[in-house]
């Protein structure tokens, strides 16, 4: 099941909220949440829900074993076994086809390529499980003794299938002790509606533009057309994914959970390092905390670890070479910025920092889009203008202009919303000293969000191209 779906919004969610409110005690509420979360997952993966149950049980069990063997070598063994199984599950379900294909290409052995469909959200809940095991081992969190509670953490449906990667420490206490206030409920609901609007109103329609130009062979696409489309694509990815995170955070809050932010206006960044502090924060911090600090490479760890992290970041996004390239591409720029040093970077004029970072990010999304390396090469030819010489591609074409005119307000809205503008407007009302303004802000935002929900519902009736991008992760 996806969030941007009428069935979810008008059937699943009301039922879940109703049961949640009927349940009086917290344990009862937790049971409701677990049942609905497992239902939610089983709805899309009737078979592989077993995998979710297995993964949660195995990790819970390993957590218990770590606790039991604390202080002996056994704890280390347990954490090693647990993490290995987690990674193995991920490799089997996500990367086996990719690995075998490349192995075949190298050795010409012609092994049969396994056709395993990727269970939804496995990348997310596996990472959560890994973070739990390591946190247990490092004693950052208390080991969860009850399987039902651990299952609740791992399967909690707002964050189950497309993140953010919520750490156990974030919800640890709220699983056992939380209360939902009226403010939580309405702010959470409004947040979720904003997320839906980002996804359904903006991202889906940006995707139509991307599809027009990048949906087929891009040979012959003009230079400016390529730039236009890849910019729109960058916005699309942001709105798609951050919209999803907003829904997750909002829904979580409606149930009394407070997840961490996953996006903080990444396009407002000035350096690539800063971009990754604002983009998919939960993933970046996961790699930072659980991978970067691990002393694998001895003396060279400073650089080798860095590229290992970025390799993994790339691989995580998909089993294809372009994602690996994409990760390493960012790794190179982080490395470059690090070598250059903050002091020198600071001397750059602000406008140049913005241009530099946006260029890197936008071209990065081009790499992210083209899984076909041939098309990726064509993309580089187009965007650099080399295609004008090799293919006779024009510099500009009328369809780009037509597309821009027909979507000008959409693209402008997307650009404005991707910058930290709305929070500023919100704070004008919400932090106003005048009670009148404050009240107006509260009611106004609710009315505006209801309007958005109406538009979202209407657009969802025609639910073409409505599959979440991050579904495949």
């Amino acid at each position: 099941m996806v969030f941007a779906d009428l069935f979810f919004i008008y059937v699943f969610l009301p039922l879940c909220l109703l049961c949640y409110l009927i349940a009086r005690s917290l344990p009862a509420k937790n049971v409701v949440l677990v049942i609905f979360s497992v239902l939610f997952y089983a709805w899309g993966e009737p078979l592989w829900v077993i995998l979710l149950l297995f993964s949660s049980f195995m990790n819970w069990f390993m957590g218990m074993q770590i606790e039991k063997r604390r202080g002996t070598g056994g704890a280390k063994t347990c954490v090693a076994i647990g993490v290995t199984i987690d990674i193995l599950l991920l490799v089997v379900f996500k990367y086996s086809a990719f690995l075998v294909e490349n192995f075949n290409a190298l050795t010409h052995l012609g092994l049969p390529v396994p056709q395993i469909r990727l269970p939804i959200g496995i990348s997310f809940f596996t990472f959560q499980a890994i973070s739990y095991l390591l946190d247990c081992y490092w004693e950052n969190v208390k080991v969860q003794k009850r399987y039902s509670r651990f299952l609740l953490y791992l399967s909690l449906f707002p964050q189950l299938i497309a993140g953010p990667i919520v750490r156990y420490s974030v919800v640890e206490e709220e699983i056992e002790n939380r209360s939902v206030t009226a403010t939580d409920l309405c702010e959470g609901a409004l947040r979720a509606i904003v997320g839906l609007a980002k996804k359904v109103i903006i991202a889906n329609n940006l995707w139509s533009i991307v599809d027009t130009f990048f949906g087929t062979d891009i040979t012959g696409l003009s230079v400016l057309g390529t730039w236009y489309t890849v910019i729109v694509y960058s916005l699309y990815v942001y709105f798609d994914f951050s919209g999803y995170s907003d829904i997750a955070i909002g829904l979580g809050r409606m149930f009394g959970f407070h997840f961490d932010e996953n996006f903080r206006h990444p396009f407002a960044c000035k350096t690539i390092a800063e971009f990754w502090q604002r983009w998919h924060i939960s993933l970046g911090s996961f790699f930072r905390d659980y991978l970067l600090y691990i002393p694998i490479f001895g003396k060279n760890r400073k650089y080798v670890s860095l590229f290992l992290v970025w390799f993994c970041t790339g691989v995580w996004h998909g089993a294809a070479w372009n994602y690996i390239l994409w990760g390493l591409y960012f790794g190179c720029f982080i490395f470059f910025e690090q070598k250059l040093g903050k002091k020198r970077m600071k001397k750059w004029p602000v406008w140049w920092k913005h241009i530099y970072s946006k260029l890197v990010i936008i071209i990065g999304f081009g790499i992210f889009y083209f899984e076909d390396l041939g098309q990726l090469g064509q993309f580089f030819q187009n965007i650099s203008g080399v295609a004008m010489l090799t293919d006779g591609a024009p510099f500009f074409d009328p369809i780009t202009w037509a597309s821009l005119l027909n979507n000008i307000f959409l693209v402008l809205t997307a650009l404005v919303v991707s910058m930290p503008v709305l929070p500023k407007i919100k704070s004008l009302f919400f932090d106003s000293q005048s009670d009148g303004l404050y009240a107006l802000g509260r009611v106004g935002s609710a009315v505006a969000c209801l309007g958005l929900l109406a538009v979202v519902s209407i657009l969802l009736v025609d639910s073409t191209n409505n599959v979440f991008l991050y579904w495949r992760f």
């Binding site: 490092w138 004693e139 002790n177 009328p398 005119l405 959409l410 000293q433």
Partner: protein, 729 residues
């Protein structure tokens, strides 16, 4: 947002730095000792019983993580972690510093479950005089700040560096810039350690002196508000604070009421309103509730089907879709004349050095009937209900559907998805002379399999049957503005190239030139992918002249029109411009007497004594007025006595041409190339056909319909076909 970094709190000063001045405001050694003690308590308790039984609060502002290689798992806050890879390495100078500054949520306050965290957090951010005071003040301040903050305006620093450099950051962000010093240097210091800092900055680390918070910038509302809160805290003006607190609660309840009411209303309406069953826009029956079986459940079909049923049969589906498409029209500027919109992916196909790609013989997504035997039952597409138009004679069929063919290289029309979304590519909406027109782009190609099949047929039926090929171009041949000509291929050229492959005994007609003389007349629908009957008339005239049969001028026909026609181009493009610019579908009924008999696709008589038109076609179905669609074989007997019997093998484009031959041929059979279940050679021989006309749109022509024709030649080969109507008589 310290929750995320709990356990790896690099903002903490590395412990064990002897000789380094400690901040006066907080006794870190005592604090660490206390933590260790608590931890020890917890651990002892944990061994004896469940941790829940342990009253001792556990610190989650956890120690620096011990080195994984250390092996020693004891709690060692005083030990400098042996491994601290440069955090800057991957994530820049202040990894997540600005994020860490984001306010945490209100549950701290409401749950009151995290005393340690509050203590630490606030104690580090504000200068307080003693631990007890710090605790009390901090808890209050913290509670108030975050109760009001909620998720709201996360301070959005324009520049994370700038914010971090801000000497006031300590006041602004309670978790950062800990002792009021520069967060940046502190962080660098923490990241690198003393030596690393010296290396990076070329100077020894100096503990910044604690400094009082300076007045906060006026232009920062959050900071200003913070300051105000802090003043209230000190000044004892609790009244206004609680007032705002009460207001917040009140507003939350009001908003919650509005939200709940509206949402519940929407949910209930979705349940009680009658569900849609048919989409006239998409020309299909909507999904039905799937039947449960273990197989369908475990394959995921069942659950997907249930959700699909719910989504597909939303009350007022078509109306809501129209509203949605009108909303989408607001994304762009109002359309000027000669403006163009593209839908689905488009590709430049002209102006390249390479010649046109030859169409793939078996393109993806095209249904091709099995070569053995007749197609099991009925049409492959066109599940439209019998009474869709309200009229009884309106037949099920696929006239309004896409021609089911295409697969010119560009126009990789995807199959309609499960929920019936029409996802089409290569579509254009243009505005010309104040009216909108939807066009399908033609990607080029040569109908090799078409030519092969016709040659094969020619060999089988011999010279006594004249075979005619007269493909019908799509509207883009005539109406695509010249500056977009690179995105479509000349259909006339494609016809000629294909015709060059035909046996010279087959008559080939290219109607493009003829039609191009009439582009100012309504020869094509603007809102539908078909032509208007007027266009079919000119084509019929061309054929009649070539076939040397008499031909009735259009003046002898009785014109009629179906008004408010919005055809398939609306459902393909979703363009509100087309929706709001309907056209008239003008049809011509013959004045000469004739009768029509309808057979199913297996050539079993359904009824006779009918005409060629289906009353009741309206709205989006106007084109189905002709023959009621594609699902029937139709025989027409006219009063012409010239011994010529015509078989028209067509796709939906051929439907409109039929009535114009009522004055030209003695008998006319019409069969759809996609649905005919009998052997074509037998049909021609047994029915005594003298002329066979293949007339279908460009997509069918270069696409997979050639394969379909080949199948018509092989399926049920050698059978004998009997006209049931003749037997009756």
């Amino acid at each position: 947002m310290e929750g995320r970094y709990r356990g790896m709190d690099y903002r903490r000063r590395p412990a064990g730095e002897e000789g380094r001045p400690r901040p006066q405001a907080w006794d870190w050694d005592a604090y660490y000792a206390q933590l260790a003690q608590e931890e020890a308590q917890h651990r002892t308790a944990g061994q004896g019983g469940t941790p829940e039984a342990t009253p001792a609060p556990r610190s989650y502002e956890a120690p620096p993580r011990p080195a994984i290689s250390g092996g020693q798992m004891a709690y060692r806050p005083q030990t400098q972690p042996t491994v601290l890879v440069d955090r800057e390495g991957s994530y820049g100078a202040q990894p997540y510093e600005p994020l860490a500054a984001q306010p945490r949520h209100a549950s701290y306050v409401e749950g009151a479950a995290r005393p340690t965290r509050q203590r630490v957090a606030v104690g580090r951010g504000h200068e307080v005089q003693s631990n007890d005071q710090a605790l009390a003040a901090a808890a209050r301040l913290h509670a108030e700040r975050y109760a009001a903050y909620e998720e709201a305006p996360a301070p959005q620093p324009e520049d994370a560096y700038a914010t971090a450099r801000d000497p006031n950051a300590g006041a602004y962000y309670p978790y950062q810039g800990a002792e009021g010093g520069s967060a940046e240097t502190a962080s660098a210091y923490e990241a690198y350690g003393q030596a690393g800092y010296q290396e990076a900055y070329g100077q020894a680390y100096e503990e910044p002196a604690a400094q009082p918070s300076e007045p906060l910038p006026e232009d920062d509302p959050i900071a200003a508000w913070e300051a105000q809160r802090a003043q209230e805290q000190g000044g004892g003006e609790r009244q206004s604070l609680t007032k705002r607190g009460r207001l917040e609660k009140k507003m939350s309840l009001i908003v919650l009421f509005i939200l709940t009411f509206t949402f519940a209303l929407g949910t209930v309406l979705m349940v009680i309103l009658p569900r849609s069953t048919v989409s006239k826009i998409e020309k299909r029956e909507l999904a039905t509730m799937p039947e449960f079986s273990l197989m369908s459940y475990f394959s995921g079909e069942y659950t997907a089907g249930v959700a699909n049923f719910y989504d597909d049969t939303v009350p007022l589906r078509d109306e809501l879709k129209n509203v949605g498409n009108n909303l989408k029209a607001l994304f762009g500027l109002p359309k000027a004349d000669d403006s163009v919109q593209f839908v689905g992916n488009v590709q430049r196909v002209g102006g390249k050095k390479d010649p046109l790609p030859v169409p793939v013989s078996q393109p993806e997504g095209t249904p091709v009937p099995e070569s053995e035997g007749p197609v099991s039952s009925g049409p492959k597409t066109g599940e439209v209900g019998e009474n869709i138009g309200g009229g009884t004679s309106l037949l099920a069929g696929a006239a309004g559907r896409h021609m089911d063919t295409t697969q010119a290289p560009v126009n990789n029309f995807r199959e309609q998805e499960a929920e019936g979304n029409i996802t089409e590519n290569g579509l254009v909406v243009i505005k010309q002379d104040g009216h909108f027109r939807g066009l399908e782009l033609f990607g080029g190609g040569v109908g090799e399999s078409y030519a092969e099949a016709l040659n094969d047929l020619y060999r089988q039926v011999g010279d006594h049957v004249q075979i005619w090929s007269m493909p019908a171009p799509l509207a883009c041949e005539f109406y695509l503005p010249s500056n977009f000509s690179d995105w479509s291929v000349s259909q006339s050229d494609s016809f000629d190239e294909t015709h060059a492959l035909l046996d010279p005994g087959i008559h080939a007609l290219n109607m493009c030139e003829t039609l191009s003389r009439h582009v100012d007349e309504p020869i094509y629908c603007r809102t539908d992918h078909h032509w208007q009957p007027l266009g079919a008339y000119y084509a019929a005239k061309l054929f009649a002249e070539a076939a040397e049969v008499p031909f009735d001028d259009i003046g002898t026909y009785t014109p009629g029109s179906i008004e408010g026609f919005v055809g398939s181009m609306y459902s393909y493009t979703g363009s509100a411009d087309i929706l709001n610019d309907p056209e008239d579908f003008v049809y011509y009924t013959p004045s000469t007497p004739y009768t029509a008999a309808y057979y199913n696709t297996a050539f079993s008589l359904q009824w006779d004594d009918d005409d060629l038109f289906a009353e009741g076609a309206s709205g989006s179905d106007a084109y189905m007025y002709y023959l009621g669609g594609d699902a029937y074989i139709v025989k027409t007997d006219t009063e012409v006595k010239n011994g010529r019997k015509l078989l028209i093998v067509k796709d939906s484009y051929g439907n409109a041409i039929v009535p114009f031959f009522t004055g030209s041929f003695e008998q006319i059979y019409v069969a759809d190339v996609r649905y005919l279940e009998r052997n074509l050679v037998s049909f021609i021989n047994d029915m005594g056909i003298t002329d066979t006309l293949f007339t279908m749109s460009s997509y069918s022509f270069v696409g997979s319909q050639g394969q379909n024709i080949a199948n018509l030649l092989t399926q049920n080969a050698g059978e004998t076909i009997i006209d049931e109507q003749l037997n009756q008589e």
